[in-house]
């Protein structure tokens, strides 16, 4: 993905340039589909979200402001929020995926001593700040953001009361904010 030309492509899409839209799709759809898939755990549903997201991108491209957000961050947010809404409304997940793939991913997310961990790749500041959180705070934050788990689902999965999870999220994000602001 060539991030440098994304603002230009989105600007052209805002002008209803179909070829620019296709180029934008070619460059970003793989990553956006991956984001949808990691939340939904279902390839058909992820493709549906990808379709819906690109329709929204076509219609809303004129609302993108380069000064406010990176292009891919803006597009990823569209995908993520549609995924969150989808799983909240359907209130269902593929349980087998939830208990297998997710466990594996969480190991990647939370194990610090593996050379191939995700945290090693996500940018030094965010990695450092996440690593400063208590493990359960970090797990809760990442389970919510990365996999789209609701607070109830996190509570069930970690076998903790809902209020405890809420507290972890609140404290974790507060500490993350303080760390990121340094």
């Amino acid at each position: 993905m060539n991030k440098e030309n994304l603002p230009d492509l989105i600007a052209k899409v805002a002008l209803r340039d179909q070829q620019a839209f296709r180029n934008l799709y070619e460059q970003t759809s793989g990553k956006l589909l991956s984001i949808a898939y990691r939340i939904l755990n279902n390839r058909d549903n992820a493709n549906e979200i990808l379709q819906e997201a690109f329709v929204q991108i076509w219609y809303n491209a004129n609302e993108f402001r380069a000064a406010k957000a990176e292009p891919f961050t803006w597009m990823a947010a569209i995908v993520r929020y549609r995924c969150y809404d989808r799983i909240r409304s359907e209130n269902r997940r593929v349980e087998s995926k939830l208990t297998t793939d997710t466990n594996e991913d969480e190991e990647h997310l939370t194990t610090n001593d593996q050379a191939t961990t995700l945290l090693c790749d996500i940018g030094q500041q965010l990695e450092d700040c996440l690593n400063q959180l208590e493990q359960l705070q970090r797990d809760s934050v990442l389970m919510a953001y990365y996999h789209g788990f609701s607070r109830d689902e996190i509570a069930i999965k970690l076998k903790k009361p809902l209020n405890t999870v809420k507290s972890w999220l609140k404290r974790g994000l507060t500490r993350l904010q303080q760390c990121l602001a340094q």
């Binding site: 759809s29 058909d44 957000a69 990823a76 993520r80 809404d85 989808r86 409304s89 919510a144 999220l169």
Partner: protein, 245 residues
């Protein structure tokens, strides 16, 4: 309301709402409300942008997955990039026919299509719905063709659609009575064709009726109708359905 304005000037509340919004932990109704509020309160919008940006590295390093080859095609069809006019409804029936025969429109249309056959005899009409508006006037004809698995839509009486909204087509399942989306219907032309995916085809096979609603631009984000119902109609299974299903 002054109390509301004051509430959303509270820095701690803004921070909490922005964090939970980006984290995705809010219920749908709260999310919808925050989506609206961020357009009114700059501070809230800025904090949401802040957290989006801070978490962005998690997305940037996500490995790529190749989308289905049909996904881009379906998007282009939905956006009418390459519009084709396969439907011959428009040639067969005039506007007056529908307006004059609203009560019998389903019967006559189904009968006429059954007798006349589509242009391509290898692609038989398999399924048909004539959808009536709230005044019981025919507004939209939806049909599927078995071999090509094409959805063909003709807007007879295009409803007024505000700029910030879209028309979305839904299927009600016979089996579980759940309503599921068939996507946004363009209103730039009164005829619209697009291929159906396998899941969509299964929805059609199990359909009881179709529903058209006004939703936010690009379609309802929660996968179920949220907006005003524009029109509705029962589905009729046509000859040729079973051998093509």
């Amino acid at each position: 309301m002054p109390s509301t304005i004051k509430r959303y000037q509270n820095q701690a509340l803004i921070e909490h709402l922005a964090q939970q919004y980006v984290l995705g932990t809010q219920p749908i109704r709260v999310r919808k409300r925050i989506s609206r509020l961020r357009m009114q309160y700059t501070a809230l919008d800025q904090r949401i942008d802040y957290w989006e940006q801070k978490f962005a590295p998690l997305n940037n390093k996500t490995p790529e997955i190749s989308p289905k080859k049909t996904t881009l095609k379906a998007i282009e069809q939905q956006l009418q990039f390459n519009q084709k006019t396969k439907s011959s409804f428009h040639n067969w029936f005039g506007l007056g026919f529908y307006q004059a025969t609203s009560a019998l429109s389903v019967f006559f249309l189904a009968l006429a299509l059954f007798v006349l056959q589509p242009k391509d005899k290898t692609d038989p009409l398999s399924y048909l719905a004539v959808m009536n508006d709230t005044n019981q006037q025919p507004q939209l004809v939806a049909a599927t063709y078995g071999n090509s698995r094409t959805l063909s839509i003709e807007l007879i009486d295009t409803p007024t659609v505000p700029n910030e909204m879209s028309l979305e087509l839904w299927v009600t399942s016979k089996t579980d009575k759940q309503v599921r989306s068939l996507g946004v219907i363009p209103t730039t032309s009164n005829i619209f064709n697009r291929p159906l995916s396998e899941p969509e085809w299964r929805l059609i096979k199990d359909s009881e009726n179709l529903l058209l609603t006004l939703e936010e631009k690009g379609g309802s984000s929660i996968g179920e109708p949220m907006g005003v119902q524009v029109s509705k109609g029962p589905c009729i299974r046509m000859a040729g359905w079973q051998e093509n299903s």
